[in-house]
Subunit: 213 residues, 2 copies
């Protein structure tokens, strides 16, 4: 049925420290023929090793604001004085070609996109419990305790939005979690409302046959 | 998360000849610890080899009508002068114990149950196209062509109800189809609305941690 179908727009959100980035990378490596990773546009300066069109499309503030004006972004946000956004053209091209596009964005962006594209599939990645999240954040070792506390406070806020999501994916064993995400997205292709063409076709065929054709 | 969750009530419907029975049997054999098969009550006489409580609970018409009166059936229907129905007590007991209960019933029954239990998951099994269905029906060799035509006419009517279902499962390769059904049901356990307890718990934990506890 895949060929007749448009791709699915998938949003992956989750607490900082829940493992979203790792899940995205594994999915992309393992199932590159299924998924397209959308590349964000940003006004922040490239870091060492980052390449134009690989990590980000790097834009000046002026260019970025022109993209906003022209409605060329399906969502954007301002973090620490820099813009980040998702270019519309790439996403729409991939969906038309039948590839599922996965966006890793936070809840406000997810809500905006869901309002614009109601068929978007929303996945929320969570550790099995808050203790595990705290340990992972502390375990990074790069952040001071106050930073960890701030991230936990942010997680606390983000948790208020979980009910807007479709699926909760518990990242306890990374391998299982990646396969779970893949399986949820693949099954989504079987949803009745995504198969109207197939249904119409079989209805017509049955009608013809039952009339003795 | 499974342990905290109630089981899911699943309805498997589909065209006659789509392979529902075979799918059910394979699911039950392969994943007996996950699923409970509901056993129907009926007023039809036992056929040779059928055992009380295995194929059916055999009831007199009077007993069956008493069950209806007492609201002991979650759905029932009359076919060719015999009643068939799904006993409520068994289904509710299994769901409470966290086992998913799969019912193989047709669309009218499915609608009634969905109205009563809105969390019911509705799956519709279909062959890849109507030609395949016709071939399977003819291939049984037991039915005359007029019977096959009548079944196709019935399929035609049933197809009008497909849009009420959640998922369309195409039975092209039986093995794949069984795994697909299993995977759809298992993923359903990850739905946000089926994990409210988990969500509430992690929210509370995060709140405590972010307050520095």
């Amino acid at each position: 049925m895949k060929k007749q179908q448009k791709g699915i727009l998938v949003i992956l959100s989750g607490f900082s420290g829940a493992g979203k980035g790792t899940i995205m990378n594994l999915l992309m490596n393992r199932y590159q023929e299924n998924y397209a990773l959308s590349i964000s546009a940003t006004t922040r300066k490239p870091r060492e090793g980052e390449q134009e069109g690989r990590e980000y499309f790097f834009k000046t503030r002026e260019e970025f604001e022109k993209m906003i004006e022209k409605n060329e972004l399906i969502e954007y946000a301002l973090y620490v004085e820099n813009y980040y956004g998702t270019p519309r053209a790439y996403v729409e091209k991939q969906l038309e070609a039948g590839r599922d596009v996965i966006l890793e964005i936070e809840i406000q962006g997810a809500r905006k996109i869901k309002a614009m594209f109601p068929d978007t599939l929303l996945l929320f990645v969570t550790p099995p419990d808050a203790g595990t999240l705290k340990e992972r954040l502390l375990g990074r070792g790069t952040d001071e305790e106050t930073v960890v506390l701030a991230r936990l406070a942010r997680a606390c806020e983000e948790a208020l939005g979980i009910e807007d999501y479709d699926y909760l994916v518990v990242n306890e064993v990374l391998e299982d979690c990646v396969e779970k995400v893949h399986s949820i997205i693949q099954n989504e292709h079987q949803k009745v409302n995504r198969n109207q063409e197939f249904i119409n076709r079989i209805k017509e065929e049955l009608k013809r046959f039952s009339e003795g054709e």
